[in-house]
């Protein structure tokens, strides 16, 4: 069989077969770019591979031809290195800080009995929340992208909104539900229902990019709808799932904002307490060693999980749009599931906000009235910080995302992974490290608006990279190559071809960082210039004094902005400018 196959290919005796191959849409780039002797298998395998940029296909890696990639250009390498360096600054500073107190302090902090417990708490939360996120995110994405569920666009916004609603608002809202949630269940639940949208967004992109022919083939081979989902669709969502869960886990390990209302004792909460109580900076910094180790372990573990699979990207070709599944009698249960997800993730914070605003304690109302004059300046400051941080993150993320999509290789993988080190420290610790570094080495930055913007931008950089990659991965390489052949340099090609087409993804990246910055508390509390206040800090100040009615207007503006951001994300994340319909 094998030899006959090869001979036939060599002889080219069968023009009809060749013709058939030629005419298959979507194959154009693979065979010739691949040009590999194992080509037929590779072609099928690679075609069946999910086209989104996460595209790592461990199961077929052995077939996938070595992709020929030009060496990483020096300018791009330098830009990526710069980004990595900036991300690593807080980590390095924290290490230096930790050792300032000498070995003893480090050892004491690490050996403390509580440290182990706290780390365990964080790990447990991550371990429970990540699979939950995966399940919720995939289910939600499936309903929105592949079924005729009524009101899909509305659902899409509601599924994304929990991510953009500030975690501390959600946290206080959950805390308001009662003391039963003030423990592990509440902590794991809040992380799951706040961060499942990450999986949702990535899975939705992957589902959109899936070739419907694969599912049809599955059906023709005798699989029923459910079997097709588990045996054909789900394996292809694996890269999106792994990527999404990686972000969830990393985030959960250092999460602080989400637990601020629940008073759940995780490790970053303890770090926060240490600083609040004015313990030695080096001891608290030493505590962060645990999170650094966890972060590296998770990054390494995830890389192992993916294997050394080749990243494969297949040209888009002419793909049909998948038929949406008729839900029929399942419509009502499906709506109920979606409603339940939304009720927990969006309903609790929004409902609690309404509840707070209608609380009619006179004292609270009085202070609420007094606080309203801060609403406008706080909103303005929040917007300024958010926009500036988004711009910083975009500039830093662009070279990394381009390198990750276009010049894959060991070096680029390391550089890209380095950006995830912004998850190595609780944001509070990172912020303090930056403040420390600024006060010692670049005094003029200390307490400046710019330092805050920089910190927020770096903190949420991985999300910008993910959003950009999801879009850049959709763009055909041959477009940029054509631009190069027409005399445009690398930067000009990027500017004239890549950027215009990737605009929705760029917007998504900006909005993602903007929303996170708006909803960030820890960094702002440390680095906000003394004369400024944001929506988040005002909310926190007021809610800390249990004047929830006073805090409500700030939360209201935050949630309104969050829903707006969710709308933008829902429609743009991972997509390429659509030109077919005008």
């Amino acid at each position: 069989m094998h030899t006959e196959h090869e001979r036939e290919r060599g002889d080219r005796r069968d023009p009809a077969r060749e013709q058939a191959k030629t005419d298959t849409p979507g194959r154009q780039h693979l065979p010739s770019i691949g040009d590999d002797p194992a080509s037929d298998n590779a072609r099928i395998a690679a075609r069946s591979a999910n086209r989104d940029d996460w595209l790592v296909v461990p199961s077929v890696s052995s077939f996938v031809p070595v992709r020929r990639r030009a060496a990483l250009p020096r300018g791009l390498l330098a830009a990526c290195l710069l980004t990595s360096l900036l991300v690593v600054i807080p980590v390095v500073v924290t290490v230096v800080q930790a050792f300032e107190g000498g070995w003893g302090a480090v050892r004491t902090a690490l050996a403390a009995r509580s440290t182990g417990t706290l780390v365990l708490h964080s790990v447990e939360v991550a371990a429970v929340a990540a699979p939950l996120c995966a399940a919720i995110g995939v289910a939600a994405a499936w309903f929105v992208e592949r079924t005729r569920l009524p009101g899909r666009r509305l659902w899409a916004v509601l599924f994304v909104a929990p991510l953009t609603i500030p975690a501390f608002v959600t946290s206080y809202a959950w805390a308001g539900l009662g003391t039963s949630l003030q423990g592990f269940v509440g902590a794991a639940g809040i992380v799951a229902f706040t961060y499942y949208p990450i999986v949702y967004l990535l899975a939705a992109v992957a589902l959109r990019g899936l070739d419907p022919a694969l599912e049809e083939t599955g059906r023709s081979l005798g699989l029923n709808g459910r079997q097709v989902f588990f045996r054909v669709v789900l394996p292809q969502l694996q890269p999106a799932l792994l990527g999404g869960m990686l972000l969830v886990v990393l985030d959960a390990l250092i999460e602080f904002d989400a637990f601020v209302g629940l008073k759940f004792q995780t490790f970053s909460f303890d770090v926060y307490a240490q600083y609040q109580l004015g313990f030695s900076a080096s001891g608290a910094a030493a505590l962060s060693f645990a999170s650094m180790v966890l972060c590296v372990v998770v990054l390494f573990g995830e890389a192992q999980l993916r294997g050394d699979a080749n990243y494969t990207r297949v040209s888009q070709g002419a793909r049909r749009v998948a038929e949406r599944q008729e839900l029929g009698r399942a419509t009502v249960p499906a709506l109920a599931v979606c409603a339940a997800i939304v009720a927990i993730s969006d309903g609790i914070p929004v409902g609690m906000l309404v509840h707070w605003s209608t609380q009619s304690s006179h004292a609270a109302l009085a202070s609420a009235g007094g606080n309203l004059k801060y609403l406008f300046p706080a909103t303005l400051t929040s917007l300024e910080v958010g926009v500036a941080a988004a711009a910083v993150a975009l500039v830093l993320a662009l070279p990394v995302a381009v390198a990750a999509v276009r010049y894959r290789g060991a070096r680029v993988t390391v550089l890209e992974r380095a950006t995830y080190l912004s998850f190595a420290l609780p944001d509070l610790v990172a912020a303090i490290a930056l403040a420390y570094a600024a006060s010692h080495y670049v005094r003029f930055l200390y307490g400046s608006f710019f330092l805050l913007v920089f910190a927020e931008g770096v903190l949420f950089l991985p999300f910008a990279v993910v959003a950009l990659r999801a879009t850049f991965g959709q763009l055909e390489r041959s477009l940029e190559e054509s631009a190069r052949s027409l005399g445009s340099g690398p930067l000009a090609s990027f500017w004239r071809v890549t950027m215009p087409l990737a605009r929705p993804g760029v917007v998504a990246a900006l909005v993602l960082v903007f929303a996170f910055t708006l909803g960030d508390l820890g960094t702002a509390q440390v680095l906000l210039p003394v004369d400024l206040y944001t929506l988040g800090t005002e909310f926190n100040t007021n809610s800390s004094t249990v004047a929830f009615a006073a805090a409500a207007p700030f939360a209201g503006v935050l949630i309104a902005l969050a829903v707006l951001a969710a709308y933008v994300l829902m429609s743009r994340f991972g997509s390429v400018r659509s030109l077919a319909v005008r």
Partner: protein, 350 residues
């Protein structure tokens, strides 16, 4: 326009050698088709020529200028003055036809006559200028891609499977338009394809790439009638191969005594005959007797699968214009027209 030259181009990925010393010269104003199967390295060669890849060894020159050599010269694609037509055309979806065609032109030129002239060249009406790529048919997209490549007056045009994915009639029409455009632009061009009919019908010369090596570069008719070896013979078309005994410019084989092309050889050989050289003949005494095993009807022609009746069980196929009536089991008489090509026995790898 200028010529393109490769000398000793080598490229490997890890320990897999993809190109092992490619020499290619494309004379000015001509089109050379590079023909190769999947895995032969043809796309790698194309990408080396464009500059998306750097060769491990060897030199590439375009228009007399060395654009790549082992000494570290590597002119980037945008400085090579090449035109590149990617598979499927790769038109910029966010730009209309005129903006696509004008992409490689300097700003002042984009408003001038050049865009219209390029559209004329590929036989597209100038009213297409405002259309978007998704409003064009597949064939029109290829033409626009070629117009875009030709507009900046490149020294060499490189086409990567330019007709792949088009249906048969559109393919013929697009091919004619592309060839006419290249000819009237007096372009030096390289076309890469895995389709032998396409290579033979488009190239002034056809270069056969096999396992990273150009095994033969020749005019299409020479390549077809006198392939360098039996593998090439089978790659560029169907071949009937029978053993024979050569002497004094002729060869005696199961199909009779046939004239040998080229320099005379002596002794045992393998005889390569193209199926269309085998004709059915009327009359009782002449020719070689064969039994029809099956017939494939293609409209203008019919391909007969035959077994010689000499008891040797030798199978041959004949491409005929008059065999439509033949049925399995029929007895026919064959003769071979024109000279045949012979090879040393045991030479073929297959």
């Amino acid at each position: 326009m200028a010529e393109l030259e490769c000398r000793g181009v080598v490229k490997s990925y890890g320990d897999r050698v993809v190109l092992s010393g490619v020499d290619l010269t494309v004379p000015e104003g001509t089109l050379t088709a590079i023909l190769g199967a999947s895995g032969s390295g043809k796309t790698t060669l194309l990408r080396l020529l464009i500059g998306f890849l750097a060769a491990d060894a060897g030199t590439i020159s375009i228009g007399g200028r060395t654009v790549a050599d082992a000494g570290g010269v590597h002119v980037p694609p945008d400085k090579r003055a090449i035109g590149y037509v990617a598979q499927e055309g790769a038109l910029f979806p966010h730009l209309n036809v005129a903006e696509n065609v004008g992409f490689g032109l300097a700003r002042p030129e984009r408003r001038g006559e050049r865009i219209g002239a390029a559209l004329d060249l590929v036989g597209l009406d100038r009213t297409y200028a405002g259309r978007r790529p998704h409003e064009l048919s597949g064939g029109e997209q290829r033409r626009v891609a070629l117009a875009r490549a030709l507009a900046p007056r490149p020294a060499v045009v490189l086409l990567d499977e330019p007709f792949a994915g088009l249906d048969a009639s559109l393919r013929a029409e697009t091919r004619a338009a592309v060839l006419a455009a290249l000819a009237s632009a007096d372009a030096t061009a390289v076309l890469v394809t895995h389709d032998q009919a396409e290579a033979l019908s488009t190239g002034r010369e056809v270069a056969v790439l096999r396992e990273g090596r150009l095994v033969q570069t020749a005019a299409p008719d020479v390549l077809y009638r006198a392939p360098a070896d039996l593998d090439v013979a089978r790659f560029v078309g169907e071949a009937v191969v029978v053993p024979g005994q050569a002497a004094a410019g002729t060869v005696v084989c199961a199909l009779g005594t046939l004239r040998v092309r080229g320099a005379p050889v002596e002794g045992p050989v393998q005889v390569m005959i193209r199926p269309e050289q085998i004709r059915l003949i009327d009359g009782e005494e002449r020719g070689v007797v064969a039994t029809v095993l099956g017939a494939s009807f293609f409209g203008a022609e019919t391909v007969l699968r035959l077994e010689l009746a000499d008891g040797s069980g030798t199978g041959v196929s004949a491409r005929t214009f008059d065999g439509a009536g033949a049925r399995a089991g029929d007895e026919v008489r064959l003769s071979v027209t024109g000279p045949v090509t012979v090879y040393a026995p045991g030479e073929a790898r297959a």
